[in-house]
């Protein structure tokens, strides 16, 4: 039953990703930049450290990209769970901050490279 449920979630997530238009993805990217980028932007010459990316870099040790936008294993449901429930030190976000529509597009954006 649990596997069935997971498959269903994955199928819905794929459906969501498939339906995302270029406009949705562009909006998803804007939501990411507004709410997530401060902690999850890629490291670079003038981004020597940020909370999310630096900690994930330490955690994954090169097995996965530390920057969320470069991930190929994030599905929409996982993104939504993290945003609405938080994880570890990262808090959850209210609907007055990231609305359900914003979250749909954010999830579509971060799961756009999901490899099936």
């Amino acid at each position: 039953m649990k596997i069935l449920k997971l498959l269903l979630i994955a199928a819905l997530a794929c459906l969501g990703a498939a339906r995302a238009s270029a406009q949705d993805l562009q909006h998803g990217k804007a939501v990411f930049d507004l709410w997530c980028g401060s902690c999850h932007k890629p490291l670079g010459p003038y981004v020597s450290s940020v909370a999310g990316t630096s900690v994930l870099e330490r955690k994954y040790k090169g097995t996965k990209p530390a920057a969320l936008e470069e991930r190929t294993d994030l599905d929409a449901a996982t993104v939504k769970t993290f945003v609405r429930h938080g994880v570890k030190f990262m808090p959850f976000f209210r609907k007055t901050e990231i609305s359900d529509i914003d979250l749909d597009d954010l999830a579509a954006y971060l799961s756009r490279n999901l490899k099936h």
Binding site: S38, P91, F92, K95
Partner: protein, 528 residues
């Protein structure tokens, strides 16, 4: 559906209906799923029956809607808990200070109402974050910057009302001028010159006429502040950073004394921080020495400093302004600190206007008033186990002297040791002139046992601080009463005065019951 204590379901439902009519049904949140987003992610009671939980949330978009909410709440005696952005994690987040409150989420009121470029100030609504304000300034090509705290997702209004701090202003409440407040009866008040219709100096002359009452709306529950004016800062023509280092344990008094003196005469205008890279480390030999009787002698620390090639103390600051003046200030700092045998002064980074904002590293951005969330990196990656689920800050103010800094670290370490907590050595951050704020994070929001230990440890350090004449400058809701209790001069005359005001301006006690230890009459009978 959760219903506030003392309110009937029928009354609560009627109030929710009226809230919906006033602000739109989609902005009244009542489902558990939605209301759970108003929990404190870093609560020290997470998942326990004492956790402060909202009954519902309302998110107004205008001042008129805030007034309508307050009037409805008065009719039905519904407790409200307003907040601006709800992002002061470690000090309560978006959760209420009393379970059952309807939280008033002001995040939608995020407008920059006015920017006065010539006189460098902005008027912002309560839900306008530092990021929001910065983005508006950038989008208009205006080279003015707000005074930002370490995490930039808070708001100038909320941060300053909590007596929060920022760079470069430090005391952000002191950096405001004029406010607009919805009173508990729904009436609108403007303070200072704002009380004069069409005033031209609301954001430039803060006293207005008569008693200066702005302070009454900070760390209190006497009204809902909906707008405030804030001074903005010019892009500095030159910014230079420097670090003073010493390998001598006994230099602390001289370093701190000189720092305070140079600040007093205007040579160091910025926030000069005193740290100990050696004593604040968690390496085994450091921990052993800190925990030894007396906390280690000067000779032992100096030897360890040499062995590890690491200074006992550093003092860091940034000096900004007109280039010739900055250069002269830097030279003066070097000359004065250089006169202490063994002390060195090292130049750090420097920046000249016009700033290339894309080429300022994340850790340096706050220096210029550019908001970031970089602080969470230091909180998480450098100092702590990344598995921490949250923290609460213990942040007492002590006098800005070397003697006080040494004494505070000693008494907190010895006191904490008795209850199984390691304090270590906390540096002094000069948020407020003549004071050092110590910042010590207690782990929270993880599991029941950790939270219990944190609450006990926190109460313990509050008592130690009070015995020595020190107190927190702000705190998390779970500790509001604990801290208010130590302000006990003349049988708690300050608290009784707060209560007198509370009863006068909010007779139904609908606004944030218990916030900063101020309770309405009907809820304080247990204490009488």
């Amino acid at each position: 559906m959760r219903v506030p204590t003392g309110v009937t379901s029928a009354d609560f439902s009627a109030a929710l209906e009226k809230f919906s009519s006033a602000i739109g049904k989609q902005w009244v949140f009542t489902s558990d799923e939605d209301v759970d987003l108003y929990r404190d992610a870093y609560s020290v009671y997470k998942g326990e029956k004492e956790e402060y939980l909202a009954s519902a949330a309302v998110a107004p978009d205008t001042v008129e809607q805030v007034q309508a909410i307050v009037r409805i709440a008065n009719q039905h005696k519904i407790p409200l808990f307003p907040f601006s952005t709800g992002r002061n994690l470690g000090y309560g987040g978006s959760a209420p200070s009393y379970s059952g409150c309807v939280v008033v989420d002001l995040k939608r009121m995020n407008r920059v109402v006015e920017i006065h470029e010539k006189l460098h100030y902005a008027v912002v609504e309560a839900g306008c974050s530092f990021f929001d304000l910065y983005r508006v300034l950038q989008s208009k090509g205006i080279k003015l910057y707000p005074s930002v705290p370490a995490p930039g997702w808070g708001s100038p209004v909320g941060n300053s009302l909590e007596h929060g701090t920022g760079t470069p202003a430090r005391d952000n409440f002191k950096n405001h001028c004029g406010m607009e407040v919805v009173l508990a009866n729904g009436e609108l008040l403007r303070t200072g010159m704002g009380a004069m219709p069409n005033a031209e100096t609301w954001q430039t002359y803060h006293y207005g006429y008569g008693p200066y009452i702005d302070g009454m709306f900070s760390q209190s529950n006497f009204g809902i502040v909906t707008k405030m004016g804030f001074n903005l800062f010019h892009e500095p023509e030159l910014t230079r950073s420097l670090t003073v280092t010493s390998g001598n344990y006994d230099d602390l008094d001289q370093i701190v004394g000189l720092s305070e003196y140079l600040e007093a005469i205007g040579v160091i205008p910025a926030n000069a921080r005193v740290f100990s890279p050696l004593m604040s480390s968690r390496e085994p030999e450091v921990v052993t020495l800190i925990r030894s009787a007396g906390g280690g002698s000067a000779g032992q620390w100096n030897q360890l400093s040499q062995d590890k090639n690491r200074p006992v103390y550093t003092l860091q600051t940034e000096i900004r302004g007109a280039p010739k003046v900055v250069d002269a200030q830097i030279e003066t700092v070097k000359e004065r600190f250089g006169a202490i045998p063994g002390v060195t002064v090292t130049d750090g980074k420097s920046w000249r206007a016009p700033l290339d904002l894309d080429k300022i590293d994340e850790p340096d951005k706050q220096t210029f008033g550019i908001p970031t969330l970089w602080r969470f990196y230091t909180d998480l990656a450098e100092n702590k186990d990344p598995d921490w689920s949250g923290h609460v800050w213990f942040s007492p103010n002590i006098p800005q002297t070397g003697e006080s800094l040494r004494k505070a670290n000693r008494v907190f370490q010895e006191g904490c040791d008795k209850v199984g907590i390691y304090w270590g050595w906390s540096g002094g951050i000069c948020f407020f002139p003549k004071s050092y704020t110590l910042l010590h994070a207690f782990q929270s929001g993880g599991d029941v046992e950790t939270d219990r230990k944190t609450r006990e440890g926190f109460a313990h350090v509050v008592r130690i601080a009070a015995e020595n004449g020190w107190s927190e400058y702000r705190t998390a809701p779970a500790f509001y009463d604990l801290i208010m209790d130590v302000f006990s001069f003349n049988n708690h005359s300050l608290r009784r005065f707060h209560e007198t005001i509370k009863d006068a301006v909010d007779p139904n006690g609908i606004l944030s019951p218990g916030r900063f230890g101020i309770w309405p009459k009907h809820m304080r009978k247990d204490r009488a």
